[in-house]
């Protein structure tokens, strides 16, 4: 996990599956979030303390964002979109911790998340509008646009994966190059830029995912 190179080497193998540092870090993040969520949910009080207030603020911010885009489907979309935002913020920032690499610097991870967004768009669209109703939106506003709609589905998913991967990988590469060229403390400004970029990329990915899913649900509304 403490590998400073950009290569994603398997840490160990589990049968036919190669377990890379990306997967291990994702497991750690998932375990940490699950433990944190479990601990927090046990200590929720009607009169909230500072930590609970912050947590409720985060959840309400996510809920408000979903409400602004798809006000009728908040309860269905909030877990998926909120998890994307929370996971990506932590996954983007975890690279700043010595010994950890951001899972989002791995195209396999960002492709997996983008694929989930692609599948979720169809899942929520078919679940809410029905199979025929959902497929009909590919023919709108004109059946002539069907090929373009199909291409758009693929390209935006690829763009979603590559955008996040490229930004996070380039940030780490720039920091590594500056460290190699200039010395120990020189990459600090780049690391500060890393924080902003990590938050911005997480927001962009989650918001685009929300818009795609909401678009699949509400294209005819």
């Amino acid at each position: 996990m403490a590998d400073n190179s950009l290569a994603i080497a398997p840490v160990f193998s589990l049968g036919p599956l190669d377990i890379t540092s990306t997967v291990v870090t994702s497991w750690v993040i998932t375990a940490a979030l699950a433990l944190f969520g479990w601990l927090v949910s046990r200590r929720l009080q009607p009169d909230p303390g500072p930590l609970q207030t912050a947590i409720e603020g985060i959840v309400l911010a996510i809920e408000d964002a979903v409400t602004e885009v798809a006000p009728q489907y908040v309860s269905q979309l909030l877990p998926f979109v909120g998890s994307l935002w929370i996971f990506l913020v932590i996954a983007n920032l975890v690279g700043l911790v010595p010994g950890f690499n951001s899972p989002t610097r791995d195209l396999s991870a960002t492709a997996a998340l983008a694929s989930l967004v692609f599948l979720s768009t169809h899942w929520f669209g078919i679940r809410i509008r029905g199979f025929r109703g959902y497929l009909r939106h590919y023919l709108t506003p004109s059946p002539i646009l069907l090929p373009f709609n199909l291409i758009s589905e693929i390209t935006r998913t690829v763009a979603l994966a590559v955008r996040l991967f490229g930004n996070m990988m380039s940030l780490e590469m720039a920091a590594l190059l500056i460290l190699m060229v200039a010395g120990f403390l020189a990459p600090v400004p780049i690391l500060m830029l890393h924080i902003i970029e990590a938050l911005v990329q997480a927001y962009i990915f989650g918001m685009l995912a929300l818009i795609y899913v909401a678009g699949g649900i509400q294209s005819q509304h």
Partner: protein, 248 residues
């Protein structure tokens, strides 16, 4: 930049697990707490609104009661004013009646006092007049005055009403008595004869009268015929004058 299918699949599974875990152990409890708090806030707001409405109703009731109290107070004040005015009018009327009665009593008392004083003055004047007349007549009286009084007596005697004359005659017929003639001075003979004839003619007596003198008469004549007494003298006139004083 190679795409690792192992990583791809494991990341998908990992994220789905994360979504499930966060949905059940994070979002749902937190949203439940927020929902409960919102309900409590809404309930508190509803209760506060209900309390506010209740307070508004109480305020309106209070203002209504205050207005009613003010109206009742005004009515009571008006009633008291009317009662005071009525009582004042009644007492003023009673006072005026008492004042009128007192004034009437005072006026009656004053009139009585004036009447008494007037009577006293009149009585005193009559008394003084009687005394004066008595003194004058006592000094001025004499046979001439007596002769004129006897003439006057004779004239009056001749003018007596018939019923009186009839009464005298009936008495004299049923109970014959002597006629007594009293004068202050001795009666001259001629006048005595005229008197005798006139008295006997009037009374129907068959006896001549008895003549006497009494200086108390001052001047004049007094004739007694049984129960009848005929007089024309100064003493009786002065007595009548004094009697008029008592009559007044």
């Amino acid at each position: 930049m190679e795409l690792s299918w192992s990583t791809f699949i494991l990341e998908i599974i990992n994220f789905l697990v994360l979504v499930w875990v966060l949905k059940h152990f994070f979002y749902r409890p937190v949203l439940d707490v927020i929902t409960r708090r919102r309900r409590e806030v809404e309930k508190t707001m509803t209760d506060a609104k209900a309390l506010e409405e209740q307070a508004e109703q109480l305020k309106q009731q209070y203002e209504g009661r205050v207005a009613e109290w003010k109206e009742e107070r005004q009515q009571a004040r008006d009633a008291l004013s009317r009662e005071l005015e009525t009582e004042r009018t009644r007492r003023l009327k009673v006072l005026q009646q008492e004042l009128e009665q007192t004034r009437a009593r005072a006026q009656a008392t004053e009139e009585s006092r004036l009447a008494v004083a007037t009577r006293a003055i009149e009585a005193s004047a009559l008394e003084q007049g009687a005394r004066f007349a008595t003194r004058i007549l006592e000094q001025a009286a004499g046979p001439e005055l007596e002769s004129r009084l006897i003439d006057l007596f004779l004239d009056q005697l001749s003018q007596l009403p018939d019923e009186k004359l009839e009464g005298l005659r009936r008495q004299q017929a049923s109970e014959p008595t002597r006629i007594s003639v009293i004068t202050a001075y001795p009666v001259p003979e001629q006048l005595r004869t005229s008197l005798t004839q006139s008295l006997m003619a009037v009374s129907g007596a068959d006896q001549p009268p008895d003549f006497e003198t009494n200086p108390d008469l001052i001047a004049g004549i007094e004739v007694t015929l049984g129960a009848w007494k005929l007089a024309a003298n100064v003493r009786d006139e002065l007595k009548g004058f004094r009697g008029f004083e008592h009559h007044v």
